[in-house]
């Protein structure tokens, strides 16, 4: 029972409110930035202090919020969300910094929304109460609605409306699903509860679980997004301001898939197992489809957009392989994808500024010449994105694939084609912007200090994780395994009878494979 998480959670919002109401906007933007730094500092301490031995929640805050509905203000951190929280903290710093040094109309509103968004995202990662999760999940949309609609480019209002309606369509269905889950799992005479731990203990008939899982999947697949629910992607990505887009694609997209691990698998194992095949098919299809479209795009934003459809496909594949390796891979891959997408979009920003704002591959090229630093940063990020061995993404992908092979070999093999395609579109992306003959409007300049300060730290983190991915794995291992164990049991009692970990080599022949 600590208050730490609440502090972390509301620090940005509080700073923004104070700044918006009391301070001039120049001071206010710095205050918001300071708040993001504060969150980061807090999270770093948490990372150091985190007890990787325990599979349970840590720094738990658990207060009654709405007793009538059984909704509790319940926050907690375990290996599963620790690094997603860290990702959020890390991602917000450069994006805020990036914005601090640029001019916006109505800056106060801009930074207020930015901060509100961070609070909402942190909240949805920390929430240990289903209803609370839903609250934050939907709340996220408000700031992003304003950010996209207010400071976007092109047909921004249409884009943001489409984005919000599309996403909320999913998450309202999830709301219905959540309520249904809470209500239907309540034992006769028992008090309704939405605490995820409690829901995990209570049970519902597998029939019920199945349609509820579908409702949740609707929300999460739209959020991710996965084929064919990605209809909002093109317009939104085109018109979202870049730092916001970095957050949208780098962090928000993870909330959905995270929801699968946090909520769906533990509370509705039968349901999840029942749709395993379907969801894996969706995931694999998204991988191939996203990749295929990623290298047929001309707009750089869309290249990344579709590439992240493919990436999220991988993550989903890992989760629904219902195998510890796969789930672990999914967890670390969520972090990695966030870590590479954020700098990618910031780099896109730099590139566009070198080409009079043009963001189409056909007009770009040859920027590397007088921008070696930029090129280096970019090449590292691209290699990480295409999951080059030695990058953290490789660890994620190999674990995901191993998990998939373990249970669904055929799909795993198909999915591994995605790795090759990733190489194609990322290298194409890199070459068409940095290499070849310079585009018409391109004048090559290297990154200036501020942009470097925003991008370089992220790249450093990527490299560090590439050297020592175990840093993530051994903290998240226990929690992740625990989350999927239920569904795993449903799937193959054998796998769970076996003590996870070392398998004696000799007895291998008589271990029946699931």
């Amino acid at each position: 029972m600590t208050i730490h998480l609440s502090i972390v959670l509301f620090m940005p919002l509080a700073a923004a409110l104070v700044g918006a109401l009391l301070l001039p906007q120049q001071v206010m933007r710095w205050l918001v930035f300071a708040a993001t730094l504060g969150v980061l500092a807090y999270v770093v301490v948490m990372l150091a202090d985190f007890d990787s031995g325990s599979r349970g929640l840590q720094y738990v805050t658990d207060d009654s919020w709405i007793p009538e509905l059984g909704i509790r203000y319940q926050l907690g951190v375990d290996g599963l969300n620790l690094f997603l929280i860290a990702l959020t903290a890390i991602a917000w710093v450069p994006c805020t910094l990036w914005s601090v040094f640029r001019e916006h109309e109505r800056p106060k509103l801009y930074f207020f929304n930015l901060a509100l968004a961070e609070t909402a995202v942190l909240g949805s990662f920390m929430a240990q109460d289903l209803a609370l999760f839903v609250v934050f999940f939907d709340l996220m949309l408000v700031p992003f609605y304003f950010l996209i609609g207010g400071w976007g480019t092109g047909d921004r209002v249409r884009a943001t409306t489409k984005f919000v309606i599309y996403t909320l369509a999913g998450s309202l269905l999830m709301l219905a699903g959540a309520v249904a889950l809470g209500a239907l799992s309540t034992p006769d005479g028992g008090q309704i509860s939405f605490s995820i731990a409690e829901l995990t203990r209570r049970s519902t008939s597998s029939g019920t679980q199945e349609w509820i899982v579908l409702l949740f999947a609707a929300a999460f697949f739209v959020k991710a997004p996965l084929f064919p629910l990605h209809g909002w992607i093109p317009e939104t990505y085109r018109s979202t301001p870049l730092p916001v887009l970095a957050l949208l694609s780098g962090v928000l997209s993870k909330v959905g898939v995270y929801g699968f691990l946090r909520i769906v698998l533990p509370t509705m194992p039968q349901g999840a197992q029942h749709f395993q095949e379907l969801f894996i098919v969706v995931a694999v299809f998204s991988i191939l489809y996203g990749s295929a479209l990623a290298f047929s795009q001309d707009n750089v934003r869309l290249v990344v957009a579709y590439s992240s459809i493919a990436q999220l496909g991988f993550i989903t594949l890992g989760i629904f392989s219902l195998d510890p390796k796969g789930a672990q891979g999914a967890v670390i891959q969520m972090v990695n994808h966030g870590l590479v997408v954020v700098p990618l979009f910031l780099i896109i920003g730099v590139i566009a500024s070198r080409a009079r704002g043009s963001e189409s591959l056909s007009e770009l090229g040859g920027i590397a010449f007088r921008a070696p630093v930029l090129a280096t940063l970019f090449v590292i990020v691209s290699f990480a994105t295409l999951a080059m061995p030695g990058s953290p993404n490789f660890v994620g992908e190999i674990l995901i694939l191993f998990g998939a092979f373990e249970n669904k070999l055929a799909y795993g093999l198909v999915a591994s084609a995605g790795v090759v395609l990733a190489a194609v579109y990322m290298i194409r992306f890199f070459q068409r912007t940095m290499h070849n003959r310079p585009g018409p409007a391109v004048e090559s300049r290297d990154v200036d200090r501020l942009d470097f300060a925003a991008i370089a730290p992220l790249v450093a983190v990527i490299v560090a994780l590439g050297l020592y991915p175990q840093f993530v794995l051994h903290r998240s291992d226990k929690a992740t395994t625990a989350r999927i164990s239920a569904a795993q049991q449903v799937q193959s009692p054998v796998a769970s009878r076996q003590s996870p970990g070392t398998r004696p080599v000799m007895v291998l022949k008589d271990v029946p494979k699931p």
Binding site: L293, Q328, A368, L508
Partner: protein
């Protein structure tokens, strides 16, 4: 210091060099960057020697050491350390790699002197050497895959080093993608092995192999074939060879280092490293042997037809690697790796010579435009010829011992392998022929203008243009610098080529059948467990086989002499006689066109289909459009009945009552 610490040292030198050069990229004066990089590699070479010495002091059985720095990744059923394995094979590779790399670095210091990307070049080069060493020192599959991919990345960066050339960037992406295909193969193989043996460490796997698998166990064969996929992608064996000729877009030293001496031979190393698996899965081994043979013949034939100097050597490389693959697949590990070493020497040498010539031609690469450089570039001529002799397997040169020994082993295996050996001999003849086709057409016959100009003491200089596409280039934006460098004029190039020439000529003597078989002996501990350890041709037969090889080599040289110097008309007659064959060979058996048809076009078409059809019609049209359409229709309906006519509303009310009452009446009865 024991071998392991030396091993880590081997790895750390290039890393240090890379970091220094890249971080100080704009502060290093003159050629300092190059020298730093070379120094770093020299450092790893010396540490490799350190390893070598230390291993020699140990008893035979204790010559395989493993050490892990930290846990890389671990979860349920999955544990990988950042570990290296030091054993004779690894040390052997380290020596070859770091040694040759060092010389090529030195060569580059001069060759790349005037290039815009001088520091970048050496940073990449160091990065490559580090990756290569990591690959050979890797102690488990994951580290291997990391090194494997790193060399791929380095090769990509260096192929498209002159990134303003569309041809270069295209070649780069081609090479990278094919390599990634190989990586995926390795990953899947790794999974199969982990799944069965429960380990990813070489030792764990090899120990488990005998217990877990039967001979030719299905899973094992699959795993080995996937490993071969990786190996062949790297080593440019059929059908994954197409990237290597294009890789010649990179600077010539790069071709020498990566695409001749070291990286492309990684596949051979891999097969040798995995020999316990392959010996347990003979089917896979045979597949590999057959493909190797096919490749060596195919590449040799192409090398006869193509006219681009570097590409000739590239195909020759493919062919030579074919020999090595054949060797290690028929359990001729010693000879295979020996050939790897000698080939590294003479092929690097050939490329260096080619680079020098190209410098003299000011970047022109077609041998049709060359000739008569004998007088103009004596040093290059001599060294290049030595290299060619070694390649042709001229008696007592390095190639002579190594190549023919492989074939000898194949014959010793008997049965079908004899056929492979015969093909190998045939190709050896062709090899000798095209090797000297180069020599005669470049250095003999009457001198081309560039040559004469050079004899006058002036290095020719044309408007720089892309040798492949012929488009003009502006040298001030990152193309090979304004001036060119030839061995005759810059001592570092000489300093690099000289030793290599010696090695190409004499290295064979370390492995003379019956007299000293140093390589075999040194590698003994690694392959002690081989079940073909006793398969070994007797010294006598071996000498006869060497003899046959030597004679074929001389014959090939003779034929080349006949066609290209003695009776020039003959060449044209032959070409007219076998026109179809010539075009077929000249177009490299149309492999590129085939792949274009099979993969590139379909995937691109798929992408376009997705973008233009699925996105617009299904995702936006059906799903989004459908929903909005329904809503729109509904709202227009709601408005349509909202006529504003009071009586209309009354009617609606009446209808409502009627319906409600009706429902109740029905439900009641």
């Amino acid at each position: 210091m024991d071998a392991i610490s030396f091993g880590w040292l081997v790895l750390s030198f290039p890393v240090a060099g890379m970091l220094t050069v890249s971080l100080l990229w704009n502060r290093l004066p003159g050629r300092l960057g190059g020298w730093i990089a070379s120094g770093a590699i020299l450092g790893s070479f010396l540490s490799s020697i350190g390893m070598f010495v230390d291993l020699q002091d140990r008893p035979e059985h204790a010559r395989s050491l493993v050490d892990s720095a930290w846990t890389y990744a671990a979860t349920v059923d999955f544990k990988v350390d950042m570990s290296i394995l030091v054993d004779p094979l690894a040390v052997f590779m380290c020596l070859v790699v770091s040694g040759v790399s060092f010389l090529i670095h030195v060569y580059s210091v001069a060759y790349m002197a005037s290039d815009r990307g001088y520091s970048r070049y050496f940073a990449y080069l160091n990065y490559f050497v580090f990756s290569m060493l990591l690959l050979v020192l890797a102690g488990n599959f994951v580290v291997l895959i990391i090194g494997w991919a790193f060399v791929g990345a380095a090769s990509y960066l260096l192929i498209s080093f002159w990134y303003r050339r569309a041809t270069a960037t295209y070649a780069g992406i081609k090479a990278f993608v094919i390599n990634v295909v190989g990586d995926v193969g390795l990953v899947i193989a790794a999974f199969l092995l982990l799944d069965k043996t429960g380990s990813l460490d070489y030792r764990g796997i090899f120990q488990a192999t005998d217990n877990v698998f039967r001979v030719d166990d299905g899973t094992l064969v699959a795993a080995c074939l996937l490993i071969l996929l990786g190996a062949f992608a790297k080593s440019a064996q059929l059908p994954l060879h197409t990237w290597l000729p294009d890789a010649m877009e990179g600077p010539t030293p790069v071709s020498a280092l990566i695409h001749a001496a070291t990286m492309v031979t990684a596949g051979v190393y891999l097969i040798a490293r995995m020999h316990p698996l392959f010996e347990m899965a003979p089917t896979a081994a045979d597949v590999s042997a057959i493909i190797g043979t096919a490749t060596l013949l195919f590449a040799a034939t192409v090398a006869v037809a193509v006219t681009d100097l570097k590409r000739i050597i590239a195909y020759s490389t493919i062919s030579q690697i074919g020999y090595m693959v054949l060797g290690v697949s028929v359990a001729a590990y010693g000879p295979g790796l020996f050939h790897l070493m000698t080939h590294a020497f003479f092929k690097a040498l050939l490329f260096m010579g080619a680079g020098s010539v190209i410098g003299a031609m000011s970047a022109a690469q077609s041998i049709d435009r060359m000739g008569g450089f004998r007088k103009a570039m004596p040093f290059t001529f001599v060294t290049f010829t030595v290299g060619a002799l070694a390649l042709a397997g001229f008696p007592l040169t390095a190639g002579f011992f190594s190549k023919d020994e492989i074939l000898g082993f194949a014959i010793a295996r008997g049965s079908g392998y004899v056929v492979l050996a015969v093909v190998g001999y045939l190709a050896a003849f062709v090899t000798a022929f095209y090797a000297f086709r180069m020599v005669f057409r470049v250095f003999f016959r009457n001198a081309v203008p560039e040559a004469r100009e050079l004899e006058k003491g002036h290095l020719a200089h044309h408007e720089p243009e892309n040798p492949a596409s012929g488009e003009k280039e502006d040298t001030d934006v990152g193309f090979p610098g304004p001036e060119h460098h030839i061995a005759e004029r810059s001592w570092p190039m000489k300093a690099a080529m000289g030793p290599l020439a010696l090695l190409a000529a004499l290295a064979g003597l370390v492995q003379v059948p019956g007299i000293d078989e140093a390589v075999d002996k040194f590698l003994e501990p690694t392959f002690a467990d081989s079940r073909y350890a006793d398969v070994h041709p007797s010294t006598g037969t071996e000498w006869t086989e060497l003899g046959i090889g030597g004679l074929l080599g001389i014959a090939g040289i003779g034929l080349a002499y006949l066609i290209y110097l003695r009776r020039r008309s003959l060449r044209l007659q032959i070409r007219e006689r076998f026109d179809a064959l010539h075009t077929f060979l000249f177009n490299k058996w149309y492999f590129d066109e085939l792949y274009e048809l099979l993969f590139t076009r379909p995937v691109a078409a798929l992408g376009r289909f997705g973008r233009n059809v699925v996105e617009t019609d299904f995702v936006q049209g059906t799903i989004v459009g459908g929903a909005t359409g329904v809503v729109r229709v509904g709202s227009s309906f709601a408005r349509a009945i909202q006529t504003g006519y009071l009586r209309g509303y009354a009617l609606m009310l009446l209808v409502g009552v009627g319906a409600l009452a009706l429902y109740f009446l029905i439900s009641s009865s």
